[in-house]
Symmetry: C2
Subunit: 218 residues, 2 copies
DNA sequence: GGAGGGAAGATTGCATACAACAGTCCTGGA
DNA sequence: TCCAGGACTGTTGTATGCAATCTTCCCTCC
C-alpha cells in the first residue's frame, strides 16, 4: 500500500495536468483532504512537492494555487529546453544505449503514431512526455531529469499538440524517429541538431518565441 | 517573526553548507526538532525542501541523510553549469542591466578580492555564490535561479576555493571582473565566453572533468 | 459617497498523539 | 557454528486539535 502522501501527490498532479484543476484555481488543504479521504498532513506535503515541481505556487499563510502560464513563461521554458534537451540527446548518442532501450524508444514512436492516427491527443502528449523523459534518462546525467521536470510539465498543461496542424504533427513524429536513428548511430552532433530542431519547432508552434500572452484572470 | 519552517530550513541549510552536518550523516526528525526547539512538523517540512534542493536525500520510512558528492556528481554538475550559466551571462549582457545592478556586481568583486587578501575562504565562497546568483537573476529568466540552486550548492559544500592555488584564485577574480565588463558592454558573446571559461577553470581545479572520486563510507 | 478601521470567519501553521513500518537483536533449530 | 524466525525498539507516516494569520465584510467617520 503506497503512502498517503504519494497518492495525494499523484492524484493532484493528474488533476492539474488533465486540466480538471483549472489554472489559477485555489487548492484548499481541508477541501482536498476531504475529497481524497485523507487528513491535511499528507495533502499539505503533496502540495509542497507540487510547488517544488513548479505545478502550483504556495504562498505563506495564503495556500496553494495552480500556476498560470504566460507567454513569457513559455518562452523561458522553451529556451531552457532547447538548451538542455539537445545536450541530453548528444550525451545519449555518445553513450550508445543498448538495444532494449532503443527498442523501447522505437516502441513509443510507433505508439505515438498510432495515437495520432486515432486522434487521441491526450495520449500523444503523454507518450511524448515519456519519450523525452526516456531520452533524458539515456543521457546518463542523473540531475537532468529533476531539473527538467518543472519545464516538462508546461507543454502538457498548455496542450501543445492541440495547436498542431497535420503537417506540424507529422514533422514532430519524424523528428522522434530521426532522433532515435541518430542515437542508435552514436552521432552526438546529429542527435543534438535533431532535438534542437524538434524543440524550436514546438516553440514556434506555440508562438512561444513571439511573446504571445495566453494568461487570463481568475 | 518568521515561520518555524523557514528557520528550520535556513538553519539546516547553513549546517550542511558549513560542514557542521557532515556528508552522509543522518538527520533524525525528533533529534533536530529538539535541537532547534521546534516540533517535528516544521522540521519535516524543511527536510523535504532540502530534499527538493538536492542537499539531502529522503528515503521513505528511512529518514533523511546529507547527500554525498562523488566525482561523477561533480562532473555532472559542472557540465550543467557550463551549459546554463554562460547562457545566463549572455542574456544578462543582452538585457544590459542598469547601473545600480552593475555597481552591486562590482562591489561584490571588490569584496571578494578583499576576502581573498584576508584569506577568508568561507567569505569568498559565500560572495562567489551571491555573485553568480546575481548574474543569473540579471538574465531575466525567472526559472533559472530555481533550476540552478541544486547545482550551485555543490561547490559550496565541496569547498572549491580551498583547493585553489594563488594563480587559480587570481584568475577566478579576473574572470569576475571581465564578466562584469562584458555585461556592461552589452556583448553577449563575450560574456558567454568568459563565463564558460570561468566554469571550466573551476571544474579543472576540482578535477571534476577527470572523474575523481571523493566519496567515502558513513 | 468613499476611505479607513475593526471584528468575524475561514484558512494555514504548528504541536502532539497514535499508527505503521524498518532495522536490530535475540532465540531456537539444524 | 550458522541460518532462520520473530519480537522489540526506534523512527517515520498520519491524524487531529489549537494557535496565528489572512481575508472579507460591515460599520463608522470624513
Amino acid at each position: 500500500m503506497p503512502r498517503a502522501t504519494d497518492t495525494a501527490y499523484e492524484t493532484l498532479r493528474r488533476m492539474i495536468l488533465s486540466g480538471e484543476a483549472a489554472a489559477g484555481s485555489r487548492l484548499g488543504e481541508a477541501e482536498l483532504a476531504e475529497t481524497l479521504g485523507l487528513s491535511r498532513t499528507p495533502v499539505r506535503e503533496a502540495l509542497q512537492r507540487l510547488g517544488a515541481d513548479g505545478l502550483v505556487e504556495v504562498l505563506p499563510h495564503r495556500g496553494a494555487r495552480v500556476v498560470q502560464w504566460t507567454g513569457a513563461d513559455l518562452e523561458e521554458i522553451f529556451e531552457l529546453r532547447s538548451l538542455l534537451e539537445p545536450y541530453a540527446a548528444a550525451r545519449a548518442a555518445r553513450l550508445r544505449p543498448d538495444e532494449p532501450v532503443l527498442a523501447e524508444l522505437r516502441g513509443m514512436c510507433a505508439a505515438m503514431e498510432r495515437a495520432v492516427a486515432d486522434g487521441d491527443l491526450a495520449r500523444v502528449a503523454q507518450l511524448n512526455a515519456r519519450f523525452h523523459a526516456a531520452v533524458i534518462d539515456a543521457s546518463g546525467n542523473r540531475r537532468l531529469p529533476g531539473m527538467l521536470t518543472s519545464v516538462m510539465h508546461a507543454p502538457l498543461i498548455v496542450g501543445t499538440f492541440r495547436r498542431y496542424g497535420a503537417d506540424a504533427m507529422a514533422r514532430s513524429m519524424n523528428h522522434h524517429r530521426e532522433l532515435v536513428a541518430a542515437i542508435a548511430a552514436g552521432d552526438p552532433a546529429w542527435a543534438e541538431s535533431v532535438m534542437r530542431a524538434h524543440i524550436r519547432a514546438a516553440a514556434a508552434g506555440l508562438g512561444a518565441d513571439q511573446g504571445n500572452q495566453t494568461d487570463e484572470e481568475t
